[in-house]
Symmetry: C2
Subunit: 421 residues, 2 copies
């Protein structure tokens, strides 16, 4: 039986209105990154599986779309971009002035249980600054993440930057006598603090040599008086972005590879979700590419931020405007007399060469139906070509203005009617 | 050992300058399609392997990146978009006014032997018009392909539309007595006409009931006096596009699913390659989705067209301009006195909020080095903040103009210096 093909679970079809929303998100990501002087790059969607194991351990394969290719290579559809970035940056670092300010917009794949905000395929904006150890780099990236959210139409009522420092926790763990080889386990307990019961957390902390009480006191004490957070906060305050910041040491970000400041863009208005997250990872480029290069970066997925936009009226109306801009046309050419169709085609091409998005009925249709199509496609202008040709009628559908002119005067009259007064 | 990770064979790393070239191609594809009133869509990169077998037979799996996923599904990284389009269009055709004018820009994967212009991963522009059987639809698509090439900077000296008709060949084959079940074999012989020796071709044609002589005479006779080609040519001539057309019945396009007019955008100036190709396929949406929907479409890959742009000076200089536009910045903020860095950060954010691409030295650096960085990044304007602050200096680097002003007059003075006179 035909017609029974389905999209794979966790994968999406992007019909035009959905694709336009996706493109609005992409364009916002791209525009803000470029305003910050970042340049776009992209890596392969398929990489050798070893690359991901090197960063995350063998465990990672459980959630990979991995397979053996026809050349007997173990390959994986990429679950994230950072290992690729580390590989690329290390390989050609001599060709670029430091620091590298690079961003990317691409698709990623994880074989995971589906849940709200989590699919098996998603797009992600990755933004990284490599080759600069100063907290000024961390601040530049956090500023960028704030302006991303503002460009989407979010305010300080909608989101917050939750800022923390991995090193503060390393120092705490050392002081508490947590064995060095248990540091990752310890950080994972902290990472789950908000989601797990106090009893369970304490039960996990005791064998590591500390307790929930000690951890809570440490979090309550807030940022240490010196260290990167102080500098980052001062930098962002100078930019007028202080209102978005909140030090919250309970943020550690799950991933083992962070080495300094970490942060989350956190939705405080709606579902209390992390919309984006990142931090400093000074050892990864060396681990993957054998080149010592400090780095800081963050990533934002398309799924959660689009959910949040949809739930936030001011952001949603910007999105809707973006969709209308992307899917609409400027001009609809109404063919009122089929004998003049060749002239209509010539004028259509002229409008398109002048940069206007122009459509027309491909085959004979009633004039009323053609005007209906013009409205449905959001045309601002309708041009009518009928038996009076070379006289044509131009109608501004939005402003309900109309004029007629000889076809040789068309360009000037068209511009006048498009932007009257 | 670290540093030994490699890109998989046939896959590309898109470093910033390469990514900018890719984006220039994407933006040209998108802009022209939108001028023609097409809307963008996208499908999943991974689909059930059956979808591709249904269209192309079991043979296709030889060149697929296919595997069994963790849920025991036979899945493939997509080698093409048309089966997905047929699935999507059939599933939601009731929600859209016909005809559908849809385009897509996405990545595809084929496990093939690498050669010039052929990788294992490539981007492709797909443009399809569904729900309209008239040759007017074919003409609209061919016009779009011509304008794509012109937007890239190609002229009638660089490319030609080679136009043919599958039905003319079906009629020929019937007349010659080629058995119906051998029609695909027959078309494949025609498809290889230019690449194979006359002896070999004749040897293949004889058992099918015809000969090279008969085939050559048929090609020489050119387009039949009636039929879709006549209408398509008249339509495109009305648009002023006649000079790009050449009827060439030796074009049949390899794929079995075409049912009417077929065409290629053919590079006549350089390597004599097909840059794009397509045609009418009126049965595929029914085969895949169980819905009767006539369709015509074409696809253009990024690899061949980019090679051709690089080989064609007029096209290449447009590409280079596109790359400079994409990777450059507008303003570089020079911090001449570290004590004033907070003020420099505030001004940086102001410029960015006003839409300018703005960069600065993240840490203390000599003023001369900062100006060097400004030039390297293509900044038009440098703004110097030093001990005179709140007086700032604005320099137009390209025009060698300079002014100083109070920071409160900055926006007006900046605009004046950016666009003097």
């Amino acid at each position: 039986m035909a017609g029974n093909f389905q999209t794979l679970p966790g994968f999406r079809d992007f019909y035009p209105e959905v694709c336009a929303a996706r493109n609005y998100v992409f364009e916002t990501w791209r525009a803000v990154a470029q305003r910050y002087g970042f340049v776009e790059y992209e890596g392969p969607v398929l990489e050798g599986t070893d690359l991901y194991k090197k960063k995350s351990g063998d465990e990672i394969t459980k959630q990979l779309f991995c397979f053996t290719d026809k050349g007997d290579r173990d390959v994986s559809m990429r679950p994230e971009l950072t290992p690729t970035l580390a590989r690329m940056a290390a390989a050609k670092q001599r060709d670029y002035k430091k620091p590298l300010k690079w961003f990317s917009i691409g698709q990623f794949f994880r074989y995971e249980k589906q849940q709200r905000g989590r699919l098996r395929e998603f797009y992600q904006f990755n933004c990284d600054l490599l080759g600069e150890p100063s907290p000024a780099a961390d601040a530049e990236l956090i500023a960028l993440s704030i302006d991303l959210m503002r460009d989407f139409g979010f305010t300080a009522d909608d989101f917050q930057i939750r800022l923390s420092d991995r090193n503060a926790w390393t120092t705490f763990a050392e002081g508490a006598g947590v064995p060095a080889e248990k540091l990752t386990d310890f950080l994972q307990v902290i990472d789950k603090l908000e989601r797990e019961s106090p009893e369970k957390t304490d039960e996990k902390l005791q064998p590591l040599g500390t307790s929930l009480t000690a951890v809570r006191e440490f979090i309550q004490a807030g940022a240490p008086a010196s260290g990167p957070l102080t500098e980052i906060i001062a930098d962002l305050e100078a930019r007028g972005m202080g209102e978005f910041l909140k030090v919250d040491l309970s943020i550690v970000r799950g991933l083992a590879y962070y080495t300094g400041a970490v942060f989350e863009v956190f939705d405080i208005g709606k579902g209390m979700r992390a919309v984006a997250g990142g931090g400093r990872y000074d050892n990864l480029v060396d681990l993957i590419g054998g080149v010592d290069m400090p780095a800081v970066g963050f990533a934002m997925g398309d799924v959660v931020v689009t959910d949040l936009i949809r739930e936030t009226p001011a952001a949603n109306s910007r999105l809707e405007e973006g969709i209308a801009r992307e899917t609409g046309i400027d001009v609809y050419l109404v063919v009122a007399d089929e004998a003049k169709r060749p002239d209509a085609l010539a004028l259509t091409q002229r409008l398109r060469r002048n940069g206007y998005r122009t459509a027309y009925a491909l085959t004979a249709a009633k004039v009323g139906k053609q005007f209906q199509a013009a409205e449905q496609q959001g045309a601002q202008i309708a041009v009518v070509i009928g038996q009076e040709f070379p006289i044509v009628t131009i109608k501004n559908l939005a402003l309900r203005l109309e004029t007629t002119c000889q076809v040789e005067d068309f360009d000037a009259e068209f511009t006048r009617l498009l932007l009257p007064g």
